[in-house]
């Protein structure tokens, strides 16, 4: 009798351990499959620049006009100055563009450009595309923002 209980208990323990491991793996893995890449810093399409894109005040507020900062560095880490930047984008799942026309309004030094007029009017998956032209050449980068 005692040994049967021991086996049941051991079985339960093993099952619990397994569930724990699966849960830990599930919770710690990046959920690439469930949504787009939302990293805020990445190489541009042709690898000319490293671009970072952050809300200027740190938080995203749905429905409000906000300014963001686009920071451009060369692959070697030098700030990219005097870049001409155009912004486009939209919601890939809704087949519509951006509700506003964001623009690069100021150069703040250190490769940082203020992108003003950004507004996300609804929750979901947004894309912002930057076409960048600088002395090193032209390149583009897409950032995904999920609200």
């Amino acid at each position: 009798m005692a040994s049967i209980w021991r086996y049941i208990l051991a079985g339960l323990g093993l099952a619990a351990l397994l569930v724990g491991i699966v849960a830990a793996v599930y919770l710690t893995l990046p959920h690439q499959a469930s949504g787009p890449d939302t990293s805020r810093s990445k190489k541009t399409a042709n690898g000319l620049f490293v671009a970072s894109f952050e809300p200027e005040r740190g938080v995203i507020r749905q429905g409000e006009l906000q300014s963001w900062l686009l920071t451009l560095k060369t692959a070697a880490g030098a700030p990219v100055e005097g870049a001409a930047i155009t912004v486009s984008g939209g919601m890939p799942q809704h087949d519509h563009g951006l509700p506003t026309s964001p623009q690069a309004t100021d150069y703040l030094g250190g490769g940082r450009y203020r992108i003003d007029g950004v507004k996300f009017t609804m929750s979901g998956w947004w894309q912002l595309r930057f076409a960048i032209s600088a002395t090193a050449g032209s390149d583009s980068v897409v950032f995904n923002v999920v609200l």
């Binding site: 519509h96 007029g117 009017t121």
Partner: protein
């Protein structure tokens, strides 16, 4: 022996409790978060309007209120703002298209929370509440007046009240009785014959009329509804009592609204609007003039001398970012109209920008079917909702009116 047995029974009990808990939660955490974002208690305080230095001046609001209800503010003394924006009807008129001096081509919009809009009219052809208020005053189909006549009228009827708020009125002794850059041929000729400084003076009085009316309209705010009481109880974990309790049909409707039916995609936030413009495939009304929505409004708001970048704005240009960063072209502006607030909607048929649908059932059926747009591309995709689901959505929408 006894020890392992009690462990097993404890585990069994825990599993049961877990199953019981997961059995039928009414709303997921994500749904609760969305519902809380729609509730009126999260409505922020009304922001200052720096483009209108009189926006929060009580005397300006009082004069604005007088003007809002004054039929003297029209060509023939029969039409006021309140003719279409009826105070006992959510500041709208229950008509498919507004009727002033003539018959317009658009549905009158209700005014609750209007001061929170970034854009005005169904197509956003004005960018401030005070610039909006000026437009019907000179529209030949609405109040059909002209700015020179309004200046004379203000001086005669409300001169003292006006001057206490805005300072001295200009000398009107040489200003024609009727003149406007937008009026009849004679009015335009009279306007063009005026010296630029006099035109400027009249435009200033005219802008101040709009600023006073806007100051009054800022007080018109949305009211708490059954939905808000339900949402507050849900957020605080209290069991909704009395009329705050939703029927199973209303709960299904709410779940559809924020889920499968995608209504909340555009009808979001405490006012149930994203303040943006969308083509939803609503067909035009036969017999009305060509109406292409936002695509034609862009040039109008840019050309408006009373827009945020014009010389009648108070404060600095930093208030003009909506205008500065607006989408100026592109296919998405074709037959795009503003997302209306749904608060109180059940109490004010007909619906859409030209009153195309006479009931909420028709509205929901339209979104379920999602017909293609006559011009441009509809952003709406077919939902194929069942009869029960459509009825549930309508039942939920009614909770925004009770």
């Amino acid at each position: 022996m006894r020890h392992p047995a009690s462990v097993v029974s404890l585990l069994a009990l825990a599993a049961l409790a877990l199953l019981g808990g997961c059995g039928k939660p009414q709303f997921s955490d994500a749904e609760k978060k969305t519902i809380a974002s729609l509730a009126l208690n999260t409505l922020p305080a009304l922001k200052a309007d720096t483009t209108n230095q009189y926006a929060d001046v009580p005397a300006a609001a009082a004069l604005g209120s007088t003007l809002f209800f004054d039929v003297g503010m029209s060509r023939d003394g029969t039409v006021s703002c309140s003719t279409c924006h009826k105070i006992d009807r959510q500041f709208q008129d229950d008509l498919p298209q507004a009727v002033g001096i003539g018959h317009t081509n658009r549905r009158t919009m209700p005014l609750a929370g209007v001061a929170r809009n970034p854009w005005f009219f169904w197509d956003g052809r004005r960018d401030s509440l005070w610039a909006q208020a000026l437009t019907p005053l000179e529209s030949p189909l609405e109040q059909a007046g002209n700015r020179a006549a309004f200046a004379h009228y203000i001086k005669k009827r409300f001169g003292e009240r006006y001057e206490r708020i805005f300072g001295p009125l200009p000398d009107l002794s040489t200003v024609p009785a009727n003149a406007s850059p937008l009026g009849s041929e004679t009015e335009k000729a009279a306007w063009n014959a005026m010296p630029a400084s006099q035109q400027q003076d009249i435009n200033r009085v005219y802008a101040n009329i709009g600023k006073a009316i806007a100051a009054f309209e800022r007080s018109i705010e949305p009211e708490q509804t059954r939905f808000d009481r339900f949402a507050i109880d849900l957020a605080t974990g209290a069991a909704p009592q009395g009329d705050a309790a939703f029927s199973p049909e209303e709960i299904l409707g709410l779940k559809l609204f924020i889920g499968k039916a995608n209504c909340v995609t555009c009808h979001n936030g405490t006012r149930f609007t994203d303040n943006s413009f969308h083509n939803t495939g609503v067909a035009p009304v036969e017999g009305l003039p060509l109406d292409r929505g936002r695509v034609d409004a862009v040039a109008q708001v840019q050309a408006d001398p009373f827009n945020c970048l014009g010389k009648f704005r108070d404060g600095d240009e930093s208030a003009c970012r909506e205008l500065r960063f607006m989408v100026k072209d592109g296919p998405q502006t074709v037959r795009a109209y503003k997302t209306p607030s749904l608060r109180g909607a059940a109490g004010r048929p007909p619906y859409m920008h030209a009153g195309q649908f006479s009931t909420l059932d028709e509205v929901v059926a339209h979104y379920s079917k999602a017909p293609p747009a006559v011009e441009g591309v509809s952003e709406v995709h077919p939902l194929d909702l069942s009869d029960r689901e459509r009825a549930a959505l309508v039942a939920f929408l009614k909770t925004l009116s009770d």
